[in-house]
Symmetry: C2
Subunit: 358 residues, 2 copies
């Protein structure tokens, strides 16, 4: 994928930088150590803090946080439902109360386009309703129709407005439809018809069994154009990522590598480590002998365990860099395997290995 902030090699994993920062990680570490090619910002969070006025005065989020590579923002729809204190949906949009100070706000397809223009994302996401799981057919059907109508409004507004800071911005529509085959097919066909530069799949990884997620993903990737990036939003574990790449997914984002890191859960090629476990207490071997970042060679398992037990900030820093490094290695290796034709057998081996509890 090409953007004015540089190219992105797919499949790619996008570290989540909720409030304009990938938690506990310096921008230069993202670039030089982890090898991140694109990061994600959350519209809901950035809109509330620091607010659009600050971001606009800075010249966009890239200038504000010093990240000069590609940037994607979500639409805020997901956070309105998962975070805000109170919300009311209507045809027009969503009224919600801030989870920070209870202040009242309104998001519509139109102003969410404007907000993302102002944040300055290279890739802007459509404003949609992300249905919960489980969700009855009636609700899912009505919600999908609303999401499609909102998409049209997003596209109209997007086409009527200009880029803000001298570089191209592009809009990705989002397939919804809960876990209903017919709805997912209908939505995928509708989204495909929009001929966007890239397309996303939303409303998965919200509590449904992994099999349902894979089934829906497969249905949808068979319909979305194969020559455009297909982005599975909010997914997932390394195993989820591998299985979804096999189904044709090109882009991922998830808080899991950083959030789990802060709780001491490390993903490795050989399985999952809970560094809090007593067994690592006097394991002075390097953090991850297969790891690709400096933390993997410079710190030991016993040292990281000690830091975590003591609630030291450095624990989150080390574990976050490790996990993100692993995710970025994983998608890079997948790309290599796809190109040399060994992906399927490699993937099956890795899925086995990486699900192990060490």
């Amino acid at each position: 994928m090409q953007t004015d902030h540089g190219s992105i090699e797919t499949p790619i994993f996008m570290p989540v930088g909720t409030a304009g920062t990938v938690k506990a990680v310096h921008q230069r570490e993202l670039k030089n150590d982890i090898g991140a090619q694109i990061i994600l910002g959350n519209t809901y969070h950035l809109y509330l803090r620091p607010g659009l006025s600050i971001i606009e005065q800075a010249g966009g989020l890239h200038k504000f946080n010093g990240w000069d590579k590609p940037l994607l923002t979500d639409s805020g729809g997901y956070q309105i439902f998962s975070l805000s204190a109170q919300r009311r949906l209507s045809e027009e949009g969503a009224i919600f109360k801030s989870h920070i100070d209870g202040s009242k706000h309104f998001f519509s397809p139109e102003n969410v386009m404007d907000i993302q223009r102002t944040i300055g994302a290279d890739i802007i996401m459509a404003f949609d309703e992300c249905t919960p799981y489980p969700c009855d057919l009636d609700y899912a059907e009505n919600s999908l129709a609303l999401t499609h109508r909102w998409l049209d409004r997003c596209m109209t507004r997007f086409s009527e407005t200009d880029q803000k800071y001298g570089y191209q911005q592009t809009l990705f529509p989002i397939v919804q439809g809960s876990v209903y085959k017919d709805l997912r097919i209908k939505s995928a066909e509708y989204i495909a018809s929009k001929n966007a530069f890239g397309n996303a799949i939303g409303g998965l990884s919200v509590g449904e069994p992994a099999e349902e997620m894979y089934a829906m993903t497969e249905l949808v990737t068979n319909i979305l154009p194969k020559d455009r990036p297909r982005y599975l939003m909010g997914v997932g574990t390394p195993v989820n990522v591998l299985e979804s790449i096999a189904l044709g997914i090109d882009m991922f984002d998830c808080v899991m590598p950083t959030r789990n890191a802060r709780h001491g859960l490390l993903f490795t090629q050989n399985g999952i480590i809970n560094i809090r476990n007593e067994k690592w207490k006097n394991d002075f071997s390097v953090l991850d002998e297969n790891g690709t970042t400096f933390v993997d060679q410079e710190y030991s398992k016993a040292y990281l365990r000690h830091l975590l037990v003591c609630n030291e900030l450095l624990a989150a820093q080390i574990a976050s860099i490790h996990n993100l490094g692993l995710y970025l290695w994983l998608v890079k290796e997948a790309r290599k395997r796809i190109i040399d034709g060994t992906f399927a057998s490699w993937k099956n081996k890795m899925v086995q290995q990486m699900a192990t509890r060490l």
Copy 2:
């Protein structure tokens, strides 16, 4: 100063790595970005967590935390009085309860030498009583006598035991005496008579006015041998550091640069910034145009303020690197000025500048 882990150029500031980590800072940042030459570890904390068995199995703290330059440990005396849940002092030593789990422990001059041998510090501190401020003359007199008796026991034990990991360790005695001239003189003379490789001044910066601190420091540095490093423990602000260098101090440690960083207080050559202040909200200039670390050029004031307001971990990381970088720059510049004979006038200018509230 020469140690088996490398040389140290004085005057020097030692970042505090309480539990074997300088909070929020990677070891490679300490070395490459901040230019730290020696860091401090706290015996009290390290003894409680991870505990001596783990540190010994690792081969000492250097091996455990990956810091391969010089290391100094304090004796734990200060923490017993400032942190522990309960303590009882006797001629023999101090019984105290852990602030973490209430467990009961005993420190004596002898076992504190053994503990620091095991932690593996290059520089080991004598076990002393750090008197509070204010402190009546009687208490100070008795306490000083005890500290001197304890010093003799420390030196005996130290000389009877061997280095543990194949490199030299050295013991610094500590001058006490509260803010009583006679006691300070008596103590300094006693400590000087021990002919140690280096000597420390304790019991200052515990609440007394700066003038008292400077007066006591001057008294003592006039007695301690000038050809050995003189270490003022737990001091202080950049202004305190500059004034004390003028009085002959060679070594400093303080939690201030890192602790204040976590609260958003930045020290700069031009004064003190409280980055939480509204005025920095849309100041997109670099964090510190005179700064020597990457964070000073790569992040803006407005961005750091945003991170701090949002309680983002990166805020502590950025501010800690900045403040430590400033302290290490300060002592390096002081050294240069001492050598070229312009220290006094430079110091007076800097003391004015750096005390300003920006």
